[in-house]
C-alpha cells in the first residue's frame, strides 16, 4: 500500500470493513510491524523507531479506535498524560502551542468534569477527551481511527469544526480513517480508497465522492442484471 499525506491537510482512508485501514494507521504509529515496507516522515525513514520515538521526535500521534482513554483515571490525569508528551516534545525543539487551558476552552465539558473518572463520561465526551489529549501532545501528524464510531454525525462534525482551527494554526497533517464515507469526504480534502489491503483509488474528495469504485468497494460489484452483492454498509 502506498500512501502519502500532504502537509497541513486532512486526508482520509476509506474502504469497507477489513480493508486494512486500521492496520495501516497502527503500522504508521509503530504498534504493529510493517515488514516489508517503510514509513517515512518528510522523507526520513522511521520504520525502525519505536512508537514512543515516533511520537517524541516526529510528532506521529495516533488516536486509536474506540474509547481510547484511560477509564480508571481522571479527566485531568488523562489530559496530563498528553501534556507531558507536549512538554517532552518541546525539549526536542517542537514547541507546544496547544495548552490545557485551550483544551478546556475547546471542550468545556472536560473542564467541568476534570476530576471525574473518565469512565463516567459519555461516548462523545470520551472522544473529546481523547482528541484533547492528542492535541496536547503537539502532533505534527495526527492519525485518527474511526472517530465517528458510536457518535452522532452532528457531534463528529462539530468536534472537527472546532479542531480544524487548531490544525491549521499548528500545521498539523491529519490522516483520517473512517467507515462513514460521507463524513470522511466532507472533512478531508484528499481521499484514498482501500480494498483488501491495497490502494485502489486516490483522488481529491470531490472526485472520489462520485467515483463508481467507491460504491463498488462498499456494496460489491453488481451482477449481470445490475443487482449488487456484497457486504455493504448500513
Amino acid at each position: 500500500m502506498d500512501l502519502a499525506v500532504k502537509e497541513g491537510t486532512i486526508t482520509t482512508l476509506v474502504g469497507s470493513n477489513g480493508a486494512g485501514k486500521s492496520s495501516a494507521l497502527r503500522a504508521m504509529a509503530g504498534i504493529i510491524k510493517t515488514e516489508p515496507g517503510t514509513v517515512s516522515v518528510h522523507g526520513e525513514d522511521i520504520s525502525s523507531l519505536s512508537t514512543r520515538d515516533r511520537i517524541i521526535e516526529h510528532g506521529v500521534v495516533l488516536i486509536p479506535e474506540g474509547r481510547s482513554v484511560f477509564t480508571t483515571m481522571s479527566v485531568a490525569d488523562n489530559l496530563q498524560l498528553g501534556s507531558r508528551v507536549g512538554n517532552e516534545r518541546a525539549k526536542h525543539g517542537h514547541v507546544a502551542t496547544f495548552t490545557i487551558d485551550e483544551a478546556y476552552e475547546l471542550f468545556p465539558v472536560l473542564k467541568e468534569r476534570q476530576s471525574s473518572r473518565a469512565q463516567t463520561l459519555s461516548g462523545g465526551e470520551q472522544q473529546m477527551l481523547a482528541i484533547a489529549r492528542s492535541l496536547l501532545m503537539s502532533p505534527k501528524i495526527l492519525l485518527i481511527d474511526e472517530p465517528s464510531m458510536g457518535l452522532a454525525p452532528l457531534l463528529v462534525r462539530k468536534i472537527f469544526g472546532v479542531m480544524k482551527d487548531v490544525f491549521s494554526r499548528n500545521s498539523v497533517s491529519v490522516l483520517l480513517v473512517e467507515q462513514d464515507t460521507s463524513i470522511a469526504l466532507e472533512l478531508a480534502s484528499d481521499a484514498y480508497l482501500l480494498e483488501h489491503g491495497t490502494v485502489i483509488a486516490h483522488a481529491p474528495s470531490d472526485e472520489m465522492r462520485n467515483d463508481a469504485r467507491l460504491r463498488e468497494a462498499y456494496l460489491g460489484k453488481g451482477d449481470a442484471l445490475g443487482r449488487s452483492h456484497g457486504t455493504g454498509k448500513a
Partner: protein, 287 residues
C-alpha cells in the same frame, strides 16, 4: 541383570515418569494445571493408608491411589472450569501449598511426620508394569478420535468448540487421567520410601517435573517418559562421585537443573510449552 542399585534408580525414575506423563497429558489438553506434585502426594497418602491402616494388598492400594489422584484432578477441573491460563496455574500452585500445609497440621494422617511404616512394595516389576500400561494407554487414546479432539482443544479452545468438541470432556480427561497417573506415581513413591509426608504434597518438587518434561521433549508422551528417566539417571551419575567438582557437589544438582530449565525456556519458549497466545496468532495473521 540389573544391580539392586540400578533397579532402585529405575523404580524412582519410572515413578517420576508416571507423574511427568500426567503433567504432559494435562498440558496437552490445554489446561495449565500444575498440581501434579500434590496429586502424586494424595495418591501416595491414599495408597499408604490403604496398606498400613486397612491392610489391603498392594495392587488394590495402587488402584486406590490412582483414583485418589484422579478424584483430585477432576475436582480441580470441576471447580475451576471457568478459569484458565496463568490464573489457573496460580490457583493450582496454591492448592498444592495449601494441601501440604494442611497435612502438616493434621495429626490424624501423621502431621508433619507423615505416614510412616509403609511396606516397601515398590519393586521394579511393579513400576515397569505401571509405566508401560500408563504409557500404552496414553498413546492409545492419542490415536483415537477423542485423542485428536484433545489435541485440537489443547491448541485452541475456541476453534475446537466451534468444531463441536466438548471442552469439558477434554478437561476431565486431561485432569482426570493426568491425576490418575500422578496418583499411581505417588503410591509407588510411598511404597519405595516407606513413608509419605507433607513435603511430598508441596509444590516444591513440581518444577522438577517441568524439567523432566522440557528436557525430554515436551511434545510427546515418549518425551515425557524419556525426560524423567533420562534426567533421573543423569542426576544419579552427577553425584560427582560423592566428591566435588569445582565448588559443586551433589546437593547442587537441583538448582543446576532449574537453571537448565530457565535457559531452555529463554532460548526456546514456544518450543518449550506449545501453546502460543491468541495474540501471536492474530499478529501473524495480520502481517
Amino acid at each position: 541383570m540389573l544391580t539392586p542399585y540400578a533397579a532402585d534408580i529405575f523404580v524412582v525414575a519410572f515413578t517420576y515418569a508416571l507423574v511427568t506423563l500426567g503433567l504432559y497429558l494435562t498440558l496437552l489438553s490445554g489446561q495449565f494445571s500444575v498440581a501434579h506434585a500434590s496429586l502424586m502426594g494424595i495418591g501416595g497418602y491414599m495408597g499408604g493408608w490403604a496398606t498400613t491402616q486397612w491392610g489391603l494388598p498392594f495392587p488394590v492400594a495402587i488402584v486406590l491411589g490412582g483414583f485418589a489422584g484422579a478424584a483430585g484432578g477432576l475436582f480441580i477441573a470441576f471447580t475451576l472450569q471457568r478459569t484458565s491460563g496463568i490464573l489457573l496455574g496460580t490457583v493450582t500452585i496454591a492448592i498444592g501449598q495449601s494441601f501440604s500445609l494442611m497435612a502438616q497440621n493434621w495429626q490424624a494422617i501423621g502431621g508433619s511426620q507423615g505416614l510412616g511404616g509403609i511396606p516397601l512394595y515398590s519393586t521394579l516389576p511393579y513400576a515397569t508394569f505401571l509405566l508401560v500400561v500408563g504409557l500404552a494407554a496414553v498413546l492409545f487414546v492419542q490415536r483415537t478420535n477423542f485423542g485428536w479432539q484433545v489435541q485440537a482443544a489443547g491448541r485452541d479452545e475456541t476453534v475446537a468448540k466451534s468444531l463441536g468438541i466438548s471442552i469439558m470432556s477434554v478437561r476431565y480427561y486431561g485432569y482426570g487421567f493426568g491425576g490418575f497417573l500422578a496418583g499411581l506415581g505417588g503410591v509407588l513413591l510411598a511404597h519405595h520410601n516407606g513413608v509419605i509426608d507433607p513435603n511430598n504434597l508441596s509444590f516444591a518438587s513440581e518444577p522438577l517435573f517441568f524439567i523432566f518434561l522440557v528436557l525430554g521433549g515436551y511434545s510427546s508422551a515418549w518425551g515425557a517418559v524419556a525426560g524423567a528417566v533420562g534426567v533421573t539417571w543423569l542426576m544419579e551419575l552427577l553425584r560427582f562421585g560423592g566428591g566435588k567438582f569445582l565448588f559443586l557437589d551433589q546437593q547442587d544438582r537441583p538448582w543446576l537443573l532449574g537453571l537448565v530449565l530457565v535457559i531452555v525456556l529463554i532460548i526456546s519458549p514456544d518450543g518449550a510449552i506449545r501453546r502460543k497466545s491468541k495474540k501471536t496468532q492474530l499478529a501473524s495473521a495480520e502481517a
